[in-house]
Subunit: 217 residues, 2 copies
DNA sequence: ATATATTTTTAGACTTATCTAAAATAATAG
DNA sequence: CTATTATTTTAGATAAGTCTAAAAATATAT
């Protein structure tokens, strides 16, 4: 069907579209794919020919309906495998991304749905991201950036903006986990650092950290 | 580490060495890999450079210790994944080979052992083939071809010589499964077809079928 | 509006894995 | 032992995906 490289590009474009809803520029995509702009141009031509993206020279790129469908399938597989790795194989949430990055490309008509059944239809992956269903429908949870909370406000840590290894390890170290109830104790005007409290402890986090925490009120 | 193609070739050579213990010829390997002899020659040069095989022009090929170690790792992964697919995802034994053929190439230092732990250290895959351990040690079960049994002799169906899709489906249809106790009722001298009996039923199998059934006495 | 800087595309090269056709070597048969 | 056949290797092409360097297009600044 589609090559591993094609699937990765589609997923990359999808992720960027989620943030910006404008056409994605060649350079932006190149950075995300950790490749060169010239390689991106080549690939966009190929994806365009296969009707997976809308692409006109110098105009950036956008997924077609077909492209989005394929991207969501890959995202679904990625997140189901991540769930499996954490839940059944006892991996920690910061170890699974790289492996899921490979598993998401396994070709089979039946595997994904069988895996989902085995996992009992999880709705979210280990990083709090929603798992698209069989038809590509994806749940949107309304969350707000921790930065937006005022002193005294409470909420639940729902998901992360950045699920990179270093950030996940930081959260591990600070004993912060998804579903933790968080209360804002104080906000330091000087550097916007935030003093927060969970059920078990208190700590101060930087503005940068707070920006990566999505809170459900 | 090693590419998917390289791993597949190593596995192919390993499988052929199990049968013949002589150097494997280019054509034999080409047929097994469903590719052309010229492609095989190219790959053998590459594998030789990486010290995975011993190869001299026109002399055929043989795995080095390193090559065998790599091959056994791939076999281990293949069979563990097959076990997972049948045991946990509810696949039938004839459906899993193609998927495991892909899963066996997932790169991770930890995945295989974690999977094995999750599966509770199975010793055999769904086709009765032994699963190599962490160190590449592989269990050898002494079996005998069903063709070798005399009338009246009994044994247990242990594994298969040919685990191809068509053959597995044939066994499904005839209600023959691994671990079935089998007794030879009669052997027809004309075409060497064999009349056998299991706990639940009787049937006649051809010489060709019998040749693919490994029996533990 | 024109010069400069930035972004994007093109041109050409490289790697991996494959193929076909031709050449070289080895095996076999008379 | 030589001629024929079969096997194996080489030569040259192709496709996917990547890269660097140069050219082209677009954006920005004076
Ligand atoms: Mn991937
Ligand atoms: Mn995730
Ligand atoms: Mn394989
Ligand atoms: Mn098997």
């Amino acid at each position: 069907m589609y090559s591993q490289a094609e699937e990765n590009y589609l997923k990359g474009i999808y992720a960027l579209e989620e943030k910006s809803r404008q056409n994605i520029s060649t350079n932006t995509l190149a950075e995300r794919m950790r490749t060169k702009a010239s390689s991106v141009t080549d690939m966009l031509k190929k994806l365009s020919l296969k009707e997976l993206v809308t692409y006109k020279k110098y105009q950036g790129v956008k997924l077609t309906d077909l492209g989005k469908k394929v991207a969501l399938k890959v995202v679904r597989k990625h997140r189901l495998w991540e769930y499996f790795l954490v839940k059944n194989l006892n991996y920690s949430w910061h170890e699974v991304h790289e492996i899921a990055e490979q598993l998401e490309h396994i070709k089979s008509e039946t595997l994904t749905d069988k895996l989902e059944t085995f996992l009992k239809h999880p709705k979210f992956d280990p990083h709090g991201d929603p798992i698209p269903d069989k038809d590509g429908k994806i749940m949107l949870i309304k969350t707000v950036n921790l930065l937006k909370l005022k002193v005294g406000q409470k909420g639940v840590l729902d998901s992360l903006k950045d699920s990179s290894d270093v950030f996940l390890k930081y959260l591990n170290k600070k004993n912060l986990a998804l579903r933790d109830r968080i209360k804002v104790i104080d906000i330091e005007p000087f550097d916007n650092s935030i003093h927060i409290e969970t059920k078990t402890h208190q700590l101060v986090i930087s503005k940068k950290v707070a920006a990566n925490l999505n809170i459900k009120l």
